[in-house]
């Protein structure tokens, strides 16, 4: 029989990567929070690849850390191999990626939740969600009722999850967990714009059955970089990944069995991610490609399970075994877990505001895959913002809205709530127009002051941050002032780096502007150089080398923020605004942008509409004076 169990300020449904950050942010801001998981053994689980970071995702993790989130610290504590991607392609696209021991990571995160003040971690399947007056209620399968002022939906792929393998399909969450079936019915009944998305994961095979001699080894970097700006533990490479390739036989096996794929047979209605196609998709769409690359990633140190990145599939189990065995080194692979596609309920994110609160449901927030995104890092980033904003709502503070010019997190959320998505959204560096400024190396400079102001960054950590910034400024000043004489030694260094020798002396900054001259390479002639940590002189070096580009982006940012500062009142009636085109009024009424900048990015809203809107806002502002 139904009974009332407990009242909280915030209830988070789901303890995956989004739910964890949301719950921790709420609790750390001093607000009583509960986080529910269908199974406590699924907390912080990585149901897909055993890695964190990657291009632009690495940026997200560093930003989460700079704001006071947990993911970066947890990744550092549990990584078993790490690489900085894209070295040589420029600092804007450097991205950290680490292989993670997934069981250790999950255990670590669960313990962080368990030991967090103001936070209760509870195992229960939430089956109902409703609002009475100003209070939200959730009901568990065992008919316990909890209440809260704010609820954050972070249901991942659990919500009405359904797994597909060949012609077999069944209701299920990821990794054999129970799905949240009744909650799926409840959110539809509530009136949320729910739709179906699909994703997939490849098979895991036993390490002992792999012939690594037929594969290329991929080692970690020699010098490792922490995800966290507050490095607390030693990090080192403990294991390698391997690379192999599909071949003509693999292709033929898949093509011969396409009719047995639920995707191609039209059984799955969910929209799959473009960026993460199944192997059958890749082979059909890129039939001219001879081979596809497969990464063998270890799932941890105390397990023999190996993840086959690149072989996601929903073909029947026997076909999966056949094509896996056609690949060099995997001829005798023993499959431990088969690949599958999973279809789940998620929401049209344009129903959300930039704070991740639903426009039409006061106190209800969404985060992670539920919002139509994909990826652990994207989920965690949204969880953090949703958690902060739910807490701010309880505390009567203004919501935290991160803009596109300040972070990838802001870009991600702005894309989701302004443009929406038609398939699971993945972060990419190319999605940020300000990427020369939004680098992974300066995430602290961009976000730590905000994290400190919110209360997620400790005083101690903030002081360390301020010292680093002071060192950066001092070193830049020193380089601007230091003169380099025109000597044979100097010119020998310049010539050895294939750049022209000096005719007369110059300031050191002039030399550093040359693309081929690095800070390190000037060490022999820079006699007054203080001993500085890499992350300090790296900032100085980048700021000098890319100065022209950075300045231009900063000018664009200034221009963009002008519109971003013009807030549009929540209850603006666009239909009544004189001069606004019908199409624009419709779009604006749907998206309900937070500010004029966001309004200008809605497709179908023209610069002329924005002018009209500005005039309307100025007029409305005066009339209210």
């Amino acid at each position: 029989m139904e009974f009332f169990a407990k009242q909280y300020d915030i209830i988070v449904i789901g303890a995956g990567h989004a739910g964890i950050e949301a719950a921790l942010a709420g609790a750390r801001l001093g607000v009583s929070t509960a986080v529910f998981a269908i199974n406590l053994d699924s907390v912080g689980n990585m149901p897909c690849n055993p890695s964190i970071g990657g291009t632009s995702k690495g940026h997200l993790v560093r930003e989460i850390d700079a704001l006071g989130g947990e993911m970066g610290i947890a990744a550092d504590a549990n990584l078993i191999q790490s690489r900085m991607l894209n070295l040589g392609k420029g600092p804007a696209v450097h991205s950290l990626r680490a292989q993670i021991d997934r069981k250790d990571y999950a255990r670590y995160m669960k313990h962080v939740l368990e030991t967090q003040e103001h936070l209760d971690l509870i195992q229960a399947e939430i089956t109902d969600l409703y609002k009475k007056e100003d209070t939200w209620f959730v009901k568990t399968k065992l008919e316990a009722v909890y209440s809260a002022a704010c609820v954050i939906l972070a249901t991942g792929t659990f919500l009405a999850g359904k797994i597909y393998v060949g012609d077999v399909s069944f209701e299920s969450g990821p990794d054999g967990m129970f799905p949240a079936k009744e909650l799926g019915v409840a959110v539809r009944a509530l009136g949320l714009p729910i739709r179906r998305f699909k994703t997939g994961t490849p098979s895991r095979v036993n390490r002992r059955s792999i012939d690594f001699t037929k594969m290329e080894e991929q080692k970690g970097d020699a010098d490792l970089v922490h995800f966290s700006f507050d490095p607390r533990c030693k990090i080192e490479n403990k294991i390698s990944c391997h690379i192999t390739y599909t071949n003509e036989t693999t292709k033929q096996i898949i093509l011969d069995n396409l009719d047995r794929s639920p995707m191609y047979a039209g059984k799955i209605e969910g929209k799959g991610p473009r960026y993460c196609p199944s192997i059958e998709d890749k082979i059909v769409r890129f039939s001219e490609k001879q081979r596809h690359q497969i990464f063998i990633e270890p799932c941890g140190l105390d397990t023999e399970e190996m993840y086959l990145q690149g072989l996601s599939s929903s073909l029947p189990e026997d076909v999966q075994a056949d094509f896996v065995h056609s690949i060099a080194g995997l001829e005798h692979a023993q499959i431990m877990r088969n690949a599958y596609a999973i279809e789940y309920d998620c929401v049209d994110p344009t129903a959300l505001g930039a704070s991740l609160e639903f426009l039409d449901f006061d106190g209800l927030f969404g985060a992670g895959q539920f919002n139509g995104s994909s990826g652990y890092e994207e989920a965690a980033a949204q969880g953090l913002v949703a958690g902060i904003n739910a807490a701010h709502k309880i505390l009567g503070k203004e919501p935290l809205i991160l803009d596109r010019a300040g972070s990838y997190i802001g870009t991600l959320i702005d894309d989701l709530v302004t443009k929406g998505c038609t398939d699971p959204y993945r972060m990419m560096t190319s999605r940020s127009e300000y990427r020369l400024v939004l680098r992974q190396d300066n995430a602290d400079e961009r976000l730590t002051p905000i994290g400190y102001e919110i209360g997620l960054i400790s005083e101690e950590r903030y002081q360390i941050f301020l010292e680093k910034q002071a060192m950066i400024r001092a070193e830049r000043k020193r380089i601007e002032k230091t003169s380099i004489p025109c000597t044979d030694e100097v010119n020998a260094i310049l010539v050895s780096h294939e750049t022209s020798p000096l005719k007369k002396g110059c300031k050191m900054i002039e030399l550093l502007k040359r693309p081929s001259i690095s800070y390190d390479s000037l060490a022999p002639i820079d006699t007054s150089r203080p001993n500085l940590p890499r992350e300090v002189f790296e900032q100085v070096e980048i700021s000098i080398k890319y100065e022209g580009y950075i300045k231009r982006q900063e000018a664009q940012i200034k221009e963009m923020r002008r519109l971003e500062k013009k807030i549009i009142p929540a209850h603006t009636d666009y239909e009544t605004i004189t001069g606004l085109r019908l199409e624009a009024a419709e779009k604006l009424s749907k998206i309900r942008p937070h500010n004029v900048g966001q309004a200008s990015r809605i497709s179908g809203v023209t610069p002329a509409d924005i002018s009209v809107l500005l005039i309307y806002l100025t007029k409305a502002g005066e009339e209210n004076d």
Binding site: C48, N49, T55, S56, L85, N86, G88, K89, G90, P91, A92, V93, P202, R274, Y275, C276, P277, K282, R285, K289, H292, Q293, F295, Q309, G310, K419, M428, T429, S430, R431, S432, E433, R435, L436, P515, S516, K545, Y546, Y549, Q553, E559, R562, T578, G579, L580, R581, R601, S603, T606, P607, A608, D609, S611, V612, L614, I615, Y616, T618, K619, E622
Partner: protein, 455 residues
């Protein structure tokens, strides 16, 4: 807020034309195109409500017109921002030139009703006017939407789409290559990268020249007829004009100063100046004329260089060819009525179009007309085509072209590809401003369409 500029007097031939510049940078921008006669005070040192007399000049320092500059300082101006009004003498053509210089200095074209809109936003005009302003903007946006629809069928629009698409593909490749470093995406060949960018830049310039063609058809192009003394420049001028504009004699140095006239050749309008012969002279008056003609030759956008086939080429001829090396020019080989003493192959290495002509008898005139139209790109000009030659479009294209140039510079300097890519994206954005799309979305689409990426 960007600084805007526009001609704010009626677009008709009149005594005085005013260009209004408004925005934070108005005074700095005006200062970079305006030089006061009295060098005591620059515009930036002037108080509001004061005026200065001087000259407006182009970015490369060519004097354009006499001008009075009026300075208004925020908030005491029509728009409430810093405003400079440049009152010029000249007709529409010169006024447009001045406006171009103002754009080149950093201003952007004002939208319809934008001065008034700013005045309103800065609370300089009454609330009751607000609705009217909104209606003006709305009407304009309807009109431009209609124009855009008809423009979509146009070749020019398609051309812009094509260049933008090439760049989008390039950017998508770069993005796929950086966003999916673990996928086996072919690294971008620098040679190919450079080639695509250079091609885009050339196409951009070609497009800009078609905008120029519209200008050439409507207002004309500055043209200089130059050549050594007595090669028949004045005869050519007269032939083109069909009337005696210049004095034609056989005595060297008869034409002492620049004679100007506008004539139509096919579709093109040439603003012609005949010049004193390019030779050293002891005669003072003639020297002045020669100096004048040299300057004219250097500043003209289009040059008809005349050579006498009946006499051997001299050092002066070759010096002349060197001077016009980088100019749009046609080499007119005159006096075919006499027997030729040299062959046109000598001029081959200058890679300019040559036309045989007898200015005296008029033989070969049609060839000249064809060559001129060819060089100016006016031959296929269709005056009934949709109005595509707007300043805004030109500014967008110039922007795009500048960004491509920047990307090429970054490559040549050896900067990393992230910087190159940002410049390419800026170029795409400049193009797409004309079609109302956004670069990031187009690029994302393209990545998934063309590259096999992902786990």
């Amino acid at each position: 807020m960007k600084t805007i500029a526009a001609i704010s007097t009626a677009p008709a031939v009149g005594g005085i034309g005013v260009i209004r510049i408004s925005g934070e940078q108005a005074i700095e921008i005006a200062q970079s195109v305006f030089r006061p006669l009295s060098t005591k005070k620059s515009l930036s040192e002037m108080k509001g409500y004061t005026a200065a007399f001087g000259y407006v000049h182009t970015p490369d320092n060519r004097k354009l017109d006499e001008c009075v500059a009026l300075v208004f300082r925020a908030p005491h101006s029509y728009t409430g921002e810093n405003v400079v009004e440049l009152s010029c003498h000249g007709g529409l053509f010169l006024l447009k030139k001045v406006l171009e210089a103002v754009y080149a200095a950093g201003a952007v074209p004002a939208e319809a009703g934008e001065f008034t809109k700013r005045a309103f936003l800065n609370k300089k005009i009454d609330l009751t006017e607000a609705e009217a302003v909104a209606s003006i903007i709305a009407a304009h946006s309807d009109a431009s939407a209609a124009a855009a629809v008809s423009a979509k069928d146009g070749v020019l629009f398609q051309k812009i789409q094509k260049i933008a698409s090439d760049l989008v593909l390039l950017s998508a490749h770069l993005a796929a290559w950086t966003d999916y470093p673990d996928d086996d995406i072919d690294a971008l060949d620098f040679g190919q990268l450079e080639k695509t960018l250079s091609t885009a830049k050339k196409e951009c310039e070609a497009l800009l020249s078609t905008f120029d063609a519209a200008q050439i058809v409507s207002v004309g192009v500055d043209t200089a007829i130059i050549g050594r003394t007595n090669v028949g420049k004045s005869s050519l001028m007269n032939l083109i004009c069909g009337e005696e504009k210049s004095i034609v004699t056989d005595i060297a140095g008869t034409t002492r100063d620049v004679v100007e006239t506008s004539v139509r050749m096919g579709n093109a309008v040439l603003k012609l100046s005949d010049t004193a012969g390019l030779r050293e002279s002891e005669d003072k008056v003639e020297q002045i004329g020669i100096e004048l003609s040299r300057k004219k030759a250097l500043s003209a956008s289009f040059i008809l260089a005349v050579f006498d086939v009946s006499k051997p080429l001299e050092d002066e001829d070759f010096a002349l060819l060197e001077t016009i090396k980088n100019k749009r020019a046609i080499l007119v080989l005159n006096k075919t009525d006499l027997s030729a003493v040299w062959q046109p192959e000598i001029l081959e290495k200058y890679a300019k179009k040559t036309v045989f002509l007898s200015a005296k008898e008029g033989n070969g005139y049609q060839n000249l007309v064809d060559a001129v139209e060819d060089a100016l790109g006016t031959k296929d000009f269709n005056p009934y085509a949709p109005m595509l030659a707007t300043e805004r479009q030109k500014v967008c294209l110039l922007n795009a072209s500048g960004c491509i140039e920047e990307a090429l510079d970054a490559i040549h300097m050896g900067l990393t590809l992230d910087a190159v890519n940002v410049s390419i994206d800026s170029a795409i954005n400049a193009f797409l401003e004309l079609t109302g799309e956004r670069a990031t979305e187009r690029i994302t689409e393209e990545i998934f369409k063309n590259f096999c990426v992902g786990k």
